[in-house]
């Protein structure tokens, strides 16, 4: 394995760890962004350029920002009273460790059976466009519909209720 791979892997893992462990929620969101960036680099390393750029565009450019917005709107930047971890966090850790153990075990023990193509694929955007329009046109349309529905849904869900809503007033700032 090449050195580049290790560096990128370390970056991603570090970013993920930071995202999960940090106390300040905003810091978590920023660390998440780093993790996304690491992953995008890994896509590039894997000769999936389009996927890498899509990852940057969508995840870092939209999702991460969205997360930050959400944190800010929900006053996540304030440190909670009871600590950042929920009741009995060890159970969660054990479970995650178990999952990793199972997956790792499966990967390592099936290493000899895994395919290994060394030829580098040449994928042009035109190929992707063709594929999208010919073979994957149905999923494309469905995803379009999905996105539309998600858009509308998110708007409705997060919208202010004029009748029952207090509104973001300044006298509630110190309530928590």
């Amino acid at each position: 394995m090449s050195v580049v791979f290790y560096i990128i892997a370390a970056l991603s893992v570090a970013g993920a760890l930071a995202a999960v462990l940090l106390k300040n929620t905003v810091h978590c969101a920023l660390a998440l962004t780093v993790a996304f960036a690491g992953l995008a680099l890994m896509f590039l390393e894997l000769d999936a350029q389009f996927a890498g750029f899509a990852q940057i565009l969508v995840y870092i450019g939209a999702v991460a920002i969205l997360v930050v917005f959400a944190i800010l709107l929900t006053r996540g930047s304030e440190t909670p009273k009871d600590g950042v971890y929920s009741h009995s966090p060890w159970v969660g850790l054990v479970l995650a460790a178990g999952v990793f153990a199972v997956l790792g075990w499966a990967v390592l023990h099936s290493a000899s059976f895994l395919p290994h193509e060394t030829t580098q694929p040449t994928v042009t955007v035109m190929d992707i466009g063709n594929a999208l329009m010919n073979r994957y046109v149905l999923p494309l349309e469905i995803v379009a519909l999905l996105l539309t529905a998600a858009l509308i849904g998110a708007v409705i869900v997060a919208m202010h209720d004029k009748a029952t809503q207090d509104g973001p007033t300044s006298d509630k700032e110190g309530a928590r």
């Binding site: 929920s86 009741h87 159970v91 969660g92 479970l95 178990g98 999952v99 199972v102 997956l103 023990h109």
Partner: protein
């Protein structure tokens, strides 16, 4: 001396014979109408009853006239009208009626005496509140009795026979509020029932053997020669011919109805009924029905009779009759109730009639029946007049000297009494009784009946004299003011008294009209009838016996008036005999100890069986079912329900436990999901071929 009657075969039926059925039908119809009348129509009721019986009398006289004209012109009249009531299979059930000399005289007697008694009842029962019910039953009885008389069919005869028994029960128990009257009615019915059972057996056997229910049916009837010869040939199990056994069975029925020993016990108790009832039913008509029955089936009774001899059936009839005559006369001597003396007298005279039938034939027995009807009805009605006049007093020891207070009653009663005793020459009773005594003299089987009957005549005179002395002579010992009875009661007495004398004229040897009429021979008036050997001696003997009885009676009782509490003359003389006679020779007590006690015991056994054994079985079954039911209930409640309830409880407890797993926290659910995925993945991975094919 037996008579044989031969009749020419019937050619056609006269109109009166066709209408003969009206004679019983009209009184029964009147009875029905009276039953439906509303309460306070007493006049209407009695008028209906009397009118209907008068109509029947008229028709009977026409019928009698028809038969008489037939006899006078030398043709014997026996006309029958028969019809089939219904058929089942190949058997015909026939009904029909017959008009012949026997039925003609009986019809006239029954309707005439009945009519007089009906008129008498309007006076006697004037103060009774159940006046209408009385006439209803009287009418019904009259119709039924007339039905018995004209019946040509065994079935019709038996039906009317039973109806007569029923009305007798109803009339004896007329004052049903008195327990003694109700008991007497029950006793009468049950005792005659015993006889009727044998009668029914005889009827069924006769029907089965001869194949017909009709007596006379153009040669095919059961009383006609063809059937009789068949019956004679038939042997029954007792070594006697079928004819004899059937005759004896039928006689058993007649014995019940006519109060022969040992079925006589109901007759004296039947005096609980009103006096007109006693007069009509228990003197003149119903008790005579038994005698009439024997006369009707006489061809059967005398079937196979050797010349100059007699049959087994007739011998039995004679002996029973003679014994009853003597037996009842003895008991009558010691009785103190005016009606009871007359009742035992009736039993005794019925014995005479039966003996007369047995020894002398139909004419002899029937003549005594006819005369007895008149004078016994007279005596009963006179007794009723006496009772009425003494304000319902019936004990003769509390009467006396009534000839001064009740002259008409005394005169008619005396005539009746002398007729009963058989006072020579003037009175009908003498001639009829003499006919019987004459026949008994010539009885081939034995002379025993003759002596018994003669002694009975002596006793008859004796006890009647005793009664008359107690009642009419001496001083009045009662507490009421005796008075004469109203005209409605004394007029019938007078009429009957006349006939008590006059009827003698048709039975004397000088002009034996009655016998000739019955036997379809010519009746010649002439004194050569007296020239029969032994007849003069017989007449003398019987006259002496009667006078002796009357004399002894007068000697002991005449014109003396012993106080009511004093014992009787004879009681002082022979107390043991007197007590036995007064207690009716203990026949009732004997029955009570044997038959009735047995039935009481049997009823108790049956009751015990019913309650304990059958009832116990039923209760046992019920208890077992109850057990099953309880077991079922227990199973259902505790096992089935319990199981179900327990199960449901467990489920709800389990549900409660399970619901506690829902913490409501999303992360807990996530953790569960993750765990499940891990487990699944592990299973999939480790279970897959990749693992198993690893070197």
């Amino acid at each position: 001396m037996q008579d044989t009657i031969s009749f020419a075969p019937q050619l056609g039926t006269s109109s009166i014979a066709q209408m003969l059925w009206l004679i019983p039908a009209v009184p029964i119809l009147a009875s029905g109408v009276i039953a439906l009348l509303k309460q306070p129509r007493r006049r209407t009721a009695s008028t209906l009853a009397i009118g209907s019986l008068a109509f029947s009398l008229l028709l009977s006289l026409i019928a009698f006239g028809h038969v008489l004209s037939g006899w006078m012109s030398g043709h014997a009249v026996r006309e029958t009208v028969n019809f089939t009531w219904f058929q089942f299979g190949s058997t015909n059930v026939d009904l029909g009626w017959v008009l012949d000399p026997l039925s003609a005289v009986m019809l006239v007697m029954v309707t005439f005496v009945g009519l007089l008694i009906f008129i008498y009842s309007t006076g006697y029962m004037a103060h009774d509140e159940n006046y209408m019910r009385f006439f209803n039953f009287l009418s019904l009885f009259a119709g039924a009795m007339l039905g018995v008389v004209i019946a040509n069919s065994l079935l019709l005869l038996f039906m009317c026979w039973e109806l007569v028994g029923l009305t007798s029960y109803l009339l004896i128990g007329f004052w049903y509020q008195k327990p003694s009257a109700a008991a007497a009615a029950k006793k009468a019915f049950l005792t005659t029932r015993v006889g009727d059972v044998f009668f029914l057996l005889g009827i069924v056997w006769l029907f089965a053997q001869t194949g017909t229910l009709l007596f006379y049916f153009n040669g095919a009837g059961s009383m006609e020669s063809h059937a009789l010869t068949g019956l004679l040939v038939q042997r029954s199990g007792f070594g006697m011919s079928a004819a004899t056994v059937i005759a004896l069975l039928i006689f058993a029925g007649a014995a019940g109805k006519s109060g022969q020993f040992p079925l006589h016990v109901w007759l004296p108790d039947a005096m609980e009924g009103p006096t007109p009832v006693s007069a009509l039913i228990h003197a003149a008509t119903m008790v005579a029905a038994g005698v009439y029955l024997i006369a009707r089936v006489y061809p059967l009774m005398q079937a196979g009779m050797p010349a100059g001899g007699t049959t087994t059936a007739l011998t039995v009839v004679t002996w029973v009759g003679a014994f009853t005559a003597l037996f009842a006369a003895l008991i009558a001597v010691a009785q103190n109730d005016i009606k009871r003396i007359l009742a035992y007298s009736t039993v005794s005279q019925l014995g005479y009639m039966m003996a007369g039938l047995g020894m002398g034939g139909v004419a002899v027995g029937m003549f005594h029946l006819i005369t007895h009807a008149f004078f016994k009805a007279l005596l009963f009605m006179g007794a009723g007049s006496v009772i009425h006049g003494c304000h319902e007093e019936q004990d003769i020891r509390r009467m006396g000297g009534l000839r001064k207070h009740m002259k008409v009653t005394f005169a008619t009663y005396a005539i009746g009494m002398l007729a009963l005793c058989g006072f020579p020459l003037l009175f009908s009773g003498f001639w009829s009784k003499d006919g019987i005594l004459e026949a008994s003299q010539h009885f081939s089987a034995s002379r025993g009946p003759f002596y018994m009957l003669v002694f009975g005549a002596f006793l008859t005179a004796f006890y009647m004299m005793r009664q008359v002395s107690y009642v009419f002579f001496g001083e009045y010992r009662g507490h009421a003011h005796p008075h004469e009875s109203p005209r409605s009661m004394t007029t019938p007495l007078a009429i009957l008294a006349f006939f008590a004398i006059a009827l003698g004229a048709i039975g004397t040897p000088a002009w034996p009209w009655f016998r000739s009429f019955q036997t379809n021979t010519e009746a010649v008036f002439g004194f050569k009838g007296f020239n029969e050997p032994g007849l003069g001696l017989l007449m003398l003997t019987s006259s002496l016996v009667v006078l002796l009885g009357l004399g002894v009676g007068w000697l002991l009782y005449g014109n003396k008036s012993p106080a009511a509490e004093e014992p009787d003359v004879l009681e002082r003389a022979v107390p043991w005999a007197w007590d036995a006679l007064r207690d009716r020779l203990y026949v009732d007590e004997f029955y009570g100890m044997t038959v009735i006690a047995f039935y009481g015991w049997w009823a108790r056994v049956a009751d015990w069986l019913d309650r304990r054994v059958w009832g116990g079985a039923v209760a046992l079954v019920a208890w077992v079912f109850g057990l099953f039911a309880n077991l079922n209930r227990f199973l259902d409640a505790s096992v089935v329900d319990g199981t179900f309830d327990k199960g449901c409880e467990e489920i709800s407890t389990g549900g409660g436990l399970l619901s506690r797993m829902q913490s409501g926290r999303a992360q807990t659910y996530l953790r569960m999901l993750a765990l499940a995925v891990v487990v699944l993945a592990a299973i999939l991975i480790w279970g897959s071929k990749i693992w198993s094919s690893r070197p």
